[in-house]
Symmetry: C2
């Protein structure tokens, strides 16, 4: 039985503070249709796909802020978003999409869900664990803020891989694909990938909004030119997608925003599909709305999982305890041969 | 105070089963002198630097096997190796070098030590944790074996970072560099890097012997051509060095063996020095004895450690428990929205 799957990343060009929701939703649906026309039956959309990346702004007015969040528990049935899911159902295409989630209790998460067209339901939800940036705005008004820690709490659902059938290919469910979701900054944390790898993950889905120039956020040298900063950010994005896919013998799909949002804040684009040997299979060539497609063969995860990255044979967890015992850095001693 | 340091990877061309020990030692010393002439005061040598990569062969005769091991507890004073350390002392250059270690109790490890010229002592020892390959030879005699699991037990010293002064630059020890050692396959395991990252590591030293073509070992498709396999192996080597240096905001030095060992087993070369933004600063251009030098500024680790990879601010250890609780894979469930 073939385990090939035609999948897509739907890169989204800029969405502005005043862009009407309907307009953005229409663009997402257009991307979905375009991917389906190319034969894709899974489409991954960016983080916070329905709005601008609002966390770069400070909102004093809670009503303004609330407009960027989804308040319905089930976004596949909410009036503001359900058209996307209805179209996915009509086209028989699975989707993974990111959104700002506000729970009935008023908690706020940076979330993503996976909708299975074959099962006609949302089968998994993920809440971003690694929230970057700061809570407080920078005192220097010239600095571009990244206030995710102000607007979102760290995800409380962990890294739970899930199974879903490939739409239109596998009615009996015997050949489900094992998938996991990450959001943006999560992709830079190897612990997140490893938690999925330890569940046999075959495909990681990751939406992102990555600023092309933000020395304060990145900790880059302030002397770096915007051009150099953008190039470095794109390289580092691909580097972590490729290396972590390789080290966990899985495919991955990264779908980002692109272009100048809110008129002046550039996002890196660079949406791509990566294979389990760390190779880039397809990548975006524009900084705007664009579908990136590839046919992947999930059985290509097996050689890595069965040999060089056969965890049961090679991992030495007795040496890894620091990874969970320590949050921050403890300083190294003078060496194990002294004294 | 400047924290720049001129460092070097000493790539070593092939060493054969019948190459006399003295000849190999002379080549290591020549590389050391060449690096010192270029101003380097730290030189990293490959894994198992004094011999061929003997683990590709099956030895029935223990005497033959023993000839590849160092039996002295202190290799900086052992008759077979001390000339390298004496020269390092004379040139005032630190060295990191890999060797096959047999303990007085008869235990065997794939080890590396760090010798500080300024302190005139070995300040740290590391024993390779991730031993790849198999214990038993492959029944198909045409297959290239990788019998590390037969000849070495997993290292029992963990990932303990250590501090050492930069030779000739810092007599008072107030500005020690925080370093950690890895050996070959360890560099593909992000847990290893993270354990060092959690000790504030600034520089990772990694010797390796990586086969350019070994489909059975790598789990690569047997249909892959030798040329494609070599290119993939080099790319994956650099990928893990670059991504893990970036994700831990540290420099790294990778020193490998190169060329056709024992007349027919190709090693990948590709020795390199990598910066904390994941960039390659210098890399080998030959598949033979070659010094790769770069001046690094250790303060360039700071922006990453203080911002995007500020562990204390951003790590969420409550979500990482699987990393230590599970050795191998447990299969994923159907998703967290079902049932």
């Amino acid at each position: 039985m073939s385990r090939t799957w035609k999948v897509a990343a739907a890169q989204l060009g800029p969405v502005h503070l005043d862009t009407p929701r309907e307009e953005t939703l229409n663009r997402l649906i257009e991307l979905l249709r375009s991917a389906a026309l190319q034969g894709a039956t899974l489409v991954v959309f960016p983080e916070l796909a329905f709005t601008t990346f609002f966390a770069r702004h400070l909102f004093d007015n809670p009503t303004c802020l609330n407009a960027f969040f989804e308040h319905d528990t089930n976004i596949s049935e909410a009036s503001s978003t359900k058209r996307l899911f209805e179209e996915a159902q009509r086209l028989c295409v699975d989707i993974c999409v990111g959104y700002a989630e506000q729970t009935p209790e008023g908690r706020a998460f940076n979330s993503a869900i996976y909708y299975s067209a074959q099962l006609d339901q949302v089968v998994a939800k993920y809440r971003k664990v690694h929230i970057p940036g700061t809570r407080e705005p920078h005192p220097d008004l010239a600095v571009i803020n990244h206030l995710e820690k102000r607007y979102f709490e760290p995800g409380d659902l962990g890294f739970e891989a899930f199974r879903a059938p490939r739409s239109r290919q596998n009615a009996d469910g015997e050949d489900d694909v094992i998938m996991g979701m990450l959001i943006c900054n999560d992709r830079r944390w190897p612990e997140a990938w490893r938690c999925y790898g330890l569940q046999g993950v075959e495909l990681i889905l990751c939406g992102y909004n990555t600023p092309a120039y933000n020395p304060y956020f990145w900790g880059m040298s302030k002397l770096m030119s915007p051009e150099m900063a953008r190039s470095t950010a794109v390289t580092q994005h691909k580097l972590v997608m490729q290396a972590n896919s390789y080290m966990n013998s899985c495919f991955s799909i990264a779908a980002g925003k692109a272009g100048l949002e809110d008129g002046r804040y550039e996002l890196i684009a660079g949406s791509c599909i990566v294979g389990p040997e760390g190779q880039i299979l397809a990548e975006a060539v524009t900084a705007d709305d664009e579908v990136v497609c590839a046919e992947i063969d999930l059985d290509e995860c097996r050689p890595g999982k069965e040999n060089i990255f056969n965890f049961a044979q090679h991992r030495r967890v007795e040496a890894y305890q620091r990874v969970v015992d320590q949050v921050g850095v403890t300083q190294a001693g003078p060496g194990n041969m002294k004294g």
